[in-house]
Amino acid sequence: MQAMLTLLSQYDVLGAFWVNIQLTLWSALFSLILGVVLVMMRISPIPSLRAFASGFVEFFKNMPLTIIMVFMLLGAFVQLRFQFSSTFSSNFYWLAITGLSLYTSVFVCESLRSGINTVPLGQAEAARSLGLGFFQTAGLIVLPQAFRGSVAPLGNTLIALLKNSTVAAACSVATETSTLMKTMIEYNASSIVAVFMIFAIGYVILIIPIGLLTTWLSNTLAVRR
C-alpha cells in the first residue's frame, strides 16, 4: 500500500489514464459516426454499397488491432507520409485514434445491426406505407429505435475500446498507461505487483461505472413493445 502511494506520487498515473480516456472518447466519436455510415450502407437497397460495407466489416473484424496500429505507425506514417500534425507526439496520437476508430467502427456497426433486429418489421413497413423514403425510414424510424435497442452491445464496445486504447503503445503514443506501466516497472522492479495493481485497479474503477451506466441506460431506453 505504501509502495503504491509513493509510486502514485512519483509518476503521473492520472495523466496517463487521462490520455487513454481521451483516446477512447475521440475514437468513440469517430467510430460511432463511421459505424452509423457503415450500418446505413449495409441496410441500404444498393448492392454495391452493401457489398463494400460488409467487406469492410469482415476485413477489420478479422484483423488484429495491433497490426492496424503498427500499420498506422510504420505504414501510414513512415511510408505513406500521412500527417495530422507537425509535432510527432500529437501526430502519433491522431494516428492511434484513426486506427482505433477504424477497428471499433466495425463493432459499432455490428452492434447497431443487432439493435436493428429489435425493431419489428411492422415499423419499417408502416414507414414505407406512409411514403417515407430510405433515409427517412432509416433516420426517423428504424435507427432511433435501433440505438435504443443496442445500448448494451454499444456499451460493451465502449468498454472494449477503453481497454484497447492501451494498444496505442504500438503506435508510439508514449504517454498512455501501458507505456507508463512499462517505464514504472523498469525503474521499480522490486514493487512490480504494486505497479500492476495501480493500473489494474484504475481500469476496474473506470470500467465499473461504464458497465453500470450501460445496464441502467439499456433498461431505461429499451423500447417496451
Binding site: R42, I43, S44, P45, I46, P47, S48, R50, F52, S54, V57, E58, K61, N62, M63, P64, L65, T66, I67, V70, F71, V78, Q79, F107, E110, R113, S114, G115, N117, T118, L121, G122, A124, R128, A138, G149, P153, N156, T157, I159, A160, K163, V167, A170, S178, M181, K182, I185, I192, F199, A200, V204, I207, I208, I210, G211, T215, S218, N219, A222
Partner: protein
C-alpha cells in the same frame, strides 16, 4: 456474416433489405421471406442508377488509396516491385512469416487450451452452491475481464524475466495473459451455457442421486460446452488476434517477424500487408467454421447451439451473447404484437447479478397469457433461498407470492399438470424463450429441440 452478405446480395433489393436478415435463420428461409413489396420499375431504375454511382464511388476510393500508395508526398512509390519483392520472396516466407506464424499458432493453441481449463474451472466455481468459492471465482473472473490484456502481458513479461526466465518470458507472458482473459470469458460462456439448459437436466441428475457438483460436471457442463462451442471458436479468433499484442513485449510472432523483415528492407508497409492477409485468412476461416458449426452440433445437447451472436464477443465478453441473443430473439418478421416480457440487460463487465438465471429465460411464459409474469423456471428452493436475505434481484418473489402463484397457476391449468413444486411444465412445451416463439421462423426451427429458434 459473409454468408449473410451473400444472401443480402440476392435478396430483395428494396429499402432496408438487410434489416431483418436473421443470422440464425436458414438461408433459404431468408430468401423466401420477402420483406417488402417488390420495387416497381421506377424504384428499380433508381436503385440501378445508385448502384452504378456506388460502384464508381467505391472504385474511386480504392483508386485514391492506390494513388496514395504510388505517390506519397516526398516519398517513394510504394507499389514498386523493389519494395514488394523482398516482402513476397521465398526467403521471406521461410525465414520470417512461417516461423512467425508458427510462434503465433503455438501461443494461441496453448492459450486456448489453457483458457478452456481455466474457464471450466471458474465457470463451475461460479455455479457452485458454496458461497465462498462463488465469490472468489467471481472476483477472479471479473478482474481478469476488466484489465486490458496488454497490461497483463507487460506485467507477466517483467515478472517472469525478473524471476529468471530469460528465454521464454515473452512467450509465457503472452500465454498466461491470454489464458487469464479468455479463460474468464470462457468461464462466462460456461455459466451462460449452463443457464441456457432446460432445468429438467439438472432435476433429472439430482433425481438420479447426483450431487449438485456431480450434476454440473457430468451432465450440465458437457452439454453447455457443446452448446458454446461455436462461441468458443470465435474466442479462438480473439486469441489469435490478441497474440499480436505479444509483439509489443518482443514476442517473435507473425507481426514481430514481419516488422523485422520490414526494417531490414525498409518495406514495413509491404510486409505488414502480407502479415495482415495471413491473419485475415486464418481468422476469417475460423469465423466461417464457427458459423457453420451449430447445425452439426445441435443433436448432441439439449442446450441451444447457436453461432456466436456477434463478433464483439470477440473484443469483449460473453455478456454480449446474452444481450444480443435478446436483441435477436425479439425479431418479429411477420409483425404483430410482441409478447410482454421484461427486457433486462443482464451483465456487463461491471455488474454481475444472479438475475440472468432468473429472468433471461422464462420457461413458463405462456403466449396465450402474455401478462402472466410467473416464472416457473426455477424450483421453489431457489426462490426461497434468494428471498431469505441477500440483495433484491429481478425475478425474485416472496414465499407467499410464490405459493399464491403456484396455486393460481395450477387452477388456470386445470390441475392437469401435476408437476413438482413450483414448476409447471408449460415451459418445456411452449419452448425455451417466450419471445422467440412468436418470432420463430419456419426453416430454422426444426433444428432446435424445443421448437423455439434462436
Amino acid at each position: 456474416m459473409t454468408s449473410t452478405s451473400a444472401i443480402e446480395a440476392n435478396a430483395d433489393p428494396s429499402s432496408l433489405a438487410g434489416v431483418h436478415k436473421h443470422r440464425f435463420r436458414h438461408p433459404k428461409a431468408v430468401e423466401q421471406n420477402i420483406l417488402f413489396d417488390e420495387p416497381g420499375p421506377r424504384a428499380r431504375r433508381r436503385i440501378a442508377l445508385f448502384n452504378v454511382v456506388g460502384v464508381v464511388v467505391v472504385l474511386a476510393f480504392f483508386a485514391w488509396i492506390l494513388y496514395r500508395f504510388a505517390n506519397p508526398p516526398m516519398g517513394e512509390n510504394q507499389l514498386s516491385w523493389e519494395l514488394w519483392k523482398p516482402a513476397l520472396s521465398a526467403d521471406a516466407w521461410v525465414y520470417f512469416y512461417l516461423p512467425g506464424l508458427l510462434a503465433t499458432l503455438e501461443a494461441s493453441v496453448l492459450a486456448i487450451v489453457g483458457s478452456l481449463v481455466f474457464g471450466v474451472l471458474f465457470g463451475i466455481g461460479r455455479l457452485l452452491p458454496v458461497k465462498i468459492i462463488r465469490w472468489i471465482s467471481s472476483i477472479v473472473v471479473e478482474f481478469c475481464r476488466a484489465v486490458p490484456v496488454l497490461l497483463f502481458m507487460i506485467f507477466f513479461w517483467r515478472l517472469l524475466a525478473g524471476l529468471g526466465f530469460n528465454n521464454g518470458a515473452a512467450f509465457w507472458a503472452v500465454v498466461i495473459s491470454l489464458v487469464l482473459y479468455n479463460g474468464s470469458v470462457v468461464a462466462e460462456l460456461v455459466r451462460s451455457g449452463v443457464g441456457n439448459l432446460p432445468l429438467g437436466q439438472r432435476e433429472a441428475a439430482i433425481a438420479l442421486g447426483m450431487s449438485p457438483l456431480r450434476s454440473l460436471i457430468s451432465v450440465e457442463v458437457p452439454q453447455a460446452l457443446i452448446a458454446m462451442l461455436p462461441a468458443m471458436i470465435t474466442q479462438l479468433v480473439v486469441v489469435l488476434k490478441d497474440t499480436a499484442l505479444g509483439s509489443i513485449i518482443t514476442y517473435t510472432d507473425l507481426l514481430q517477424e514481419s516488422r523485422r523483415l520490414g526494417s531490414a528492407h525498409f518495406n514495413a508497409l509491404q510486409t505488414l500487408c502480407v502479415a495482415a492477409v495471413i491473419y485475415f485468412i486464418i481468422c476469417f476461416v475460423l469465423s466461417l467454421v464457427s458459423e457453420k458449426l451449430p447445425q452439426h452440433l445441435q443433436h448432441r445437447t439439449v442446450g441451444v447451439v447457436r453461432e456466436p451472436v456477434q463478433a464483439p464477443i470477440a473484443i469483449l465478453d460473453p455478456s454480449n451473447v446474452l444481450a444480443q441473443e435478446r436483441a435477436s430473439e425479439r425479431e418479429l418478421p411477420q409483425g404483430g404484437a410482441e409478447p410482454l416480457y421484461p427486457d433486462h440487460y443482464h451483465g456487463s463487465n461491471a455488474v454481475v447479478t444472479d438475475a440472468w438465471r432468473y429472468s433471461h429465460m422464462e420457461h413458463g411464459h405462456d403466449l396465450q397469457h402474455p401478462d402472466e409474469h410467473f416464472k416457473t423456471t426455477f424450483p421453489e428452493s431457489v426462490y426461497r433461498k434468494r428471498s431469505s436475505g441477500g440483495p433484491s434481484i429481478a425475478g425474485e418473489i416472496s414465499d407467499e407470492e410464490f405459493e399464491a402463484k403456484v396455486r393460481q397457476l395450477r387452477q388456470t391449468h386445470g390441475g392437469g399438470e401435476d408437476s413438482d413444486s413450483g414448476s409447471t411444465d408449460s415451459g418445456s412445451e411452449t419452448g425455451f424463450e417466450p419471445g422467440s416463439d412468436s418470432g420463430s421462423e419456419t426453416g430454422s426451427d426444426s433444428s432446435s429441440p424445443n421448437g423455439s429458434s434462436k
